[in-house]
């Protein structure tokens, strides 16, 4: 991957109208350095020269691919919720657990945690992707942005740190290790769905160019 170092905006002041000039600037969200927006080819990236945050990373047909991936993840989440992901056998006793059962492992005063677990691994990831699809669907067909698209995309972005499906997937692996000397543990169908989900979530994040999406929402 090529890294396009950004050029500073310090010398970019010409006699243009202010609004027009601001349109062509970009501020690094992490360290506040301002650059003039460079032309970034598909597959290239524009990286902040000071803190190395990726600012612009357009990908060809990113919108269509993002929608496809988001739909896949949505289906995977629903399926992974109801199927068992781990099963144990010990002295003739068999027991398996699905995400729904796991979320309701906490009872009494701890049931707050049930709700939180269900939100972190099902509700929030699903909401985030549904919002993303809602925002991108009109854009890939060259239609004007959907109503409330800006708010929807802002919420979808804010939900990212709280969407923890991939962390749960790793938790399955840890639980498997912990139980392995106590009983025979096997992965259920949902475990493989979660494994696929982890990969797709990473690919989705790599495809997302926030700058390009915001730019198309503005028009």
């Amino acid at each position: 991957m090529r890294h396009d170092k950004m050029t500073s905006s310090a010398g970019a002041h010409t006699a243009q109208p202010v609004a027009d000039r601001l349109e062509r600037l970009i501020a690094c969200p992490v360290c506040d350095v301002v650059y003039t927006v460079p032309t970034v080819e598909s597959q290239d990236r524009a990286v902040c020269a000071r803190c190395h945050t990726v600012l612009i990373a357009p990908r060809r047909k990113a919108g269509k691919r993002l929608i496809a991936l988001a739909l896949t993840v949505l289906i995977l989440i629903v399926a992974a919720t109801v199927f068992p992901f781990l099963a144990i056998d010990a002295r003739g006793l068999h027991r398996d657990a699905s995400v729904l059962q796991t979320a309701f492992a906490f009872s009494g005063a701890m049931s707050v945690l049930s709700v939180a677990v269900l939100f972190f691994i099902v509700v929030i990831p699903a909401t985030r992707l549904a919002l993303l699809i809602y925002v991108l669907a009109p854009l890939i067909r060259d239609r004007p942005p959907a109503r409330w698209a800006q708010q929807a995309f802002r919420l979808s972005e804010a939900l990212i740190p709280w969407s923890m499906a991939e962390i749960f997937a790793l938790g399955c692996a840890v639980a498997l290790v912990k139980l392995s000397d106590l009983a025979d543990v096997v992965f259920g169908p949902a475990a493989w769905l979660f494994a696929a989900l982890v990969v797709i979530v990473v690919v989705t994040d790599r495809l997302m160019c926030r700058y390009s999406i915001w730019k198309s929402l503005e028009n």
Partner: protein
């Protein structure tokens, strides 16, 4: 690292950048014209928010270590394990590898997060001990690792839903898991409340919230 031209921040140019969509607006603009986010050149409340969440987080982390995380009922009796107790138990049974992993993931990393966040906040207020780049790296790591601490809670949930083998063995979540989850959530909120742009402002006194014109000797040479 090669830098082309002198780097100027939006604040120095009399502008304000949107942290959500990177759009640049004239200073004093209330909301971003592109994405509608509230615009602040530097959040004046950032340190208060960081410390508030940090304190609540620490307040939850203490009981998370004192109460049992798991209660295991087997045919030989009931055993309640705290996080550290469980690791010590494993170590005594010769399971050093797993014990060390648990200690790193559930003790060292959470404690490290508290120390790092406090260090970042103190660095903004008192003048930093580390270079901008080091502190930026620290911030990135804390921000990235924060959510992964939730894995402990998920493992407890998985174990207690899976290990329900009637008389043979059963595991129920202990009170510590709730406090641990809350502690993770609050430290995440604390890290999110930190305005990372303050890390790079160290040479520029007037940008610091709550301290005007002190410690001018710490002025940093502009990168050129």
């Amino acid at each position: 690292m090669e830098i082309t031209g002198e780097l100027k921040t939006a604040r120095e140019m009399g502008l304000v950048g949107c942290t959500r969509c990177t759009r640049v607006s004239p200073a004093g603009t209330a909301r971003c014209p592109r994405c509608g986010s509230v615009l602040r050149s530097r959040d004046p409340m950032t340190l208060q928010k960081v410390w508030a969440w940090w304190l609540v987080g620490l307040g939850c982390y203490a009981p998370a270590n004192l109460y049992p995380m798991l209660e295991t009922r087997t045919m030989t009796g009931t055993q309640s394990d705290t996080i550290i107790g469980g690791a010590v138990d494993l170590a005594q049974h010769g399971n050093w590898g797993v014990a060390i992993i648990i200690l790193i993931a559930s003790v060292l990393i959470p404690v490290g997060k508290f120390v790092a966040l406090a260090g970042l906040a103190i660095g903004v207020r008192r003048g930093p001990q580390l270079s901008d780049k080091r502190r930026h790296l620290l911030y990135e790591v804390v921000d990235y690792i924060g959510r992964w601490s939730m894995i402990d809670v998920f493992v407890v949930a998985i174990l207690s839903s899976l290990v329900q083998l009637q008389a043979l063995a059963s595991i129920t979540p202990g009170r510590a898991s709730l406090f641990f989850a809350l502690s993770v959530i609050f430290t995440m909120l604390s890290a999110q409340a930190f305005d990372s742009r303050l890390i790079w402002d160290t040479g520029r006194r007037e940008d610091m919230p709550g301290r005007a014109g002190r410690a001018d000797h710490r002025r940093r040479e502009p990168t050129a």
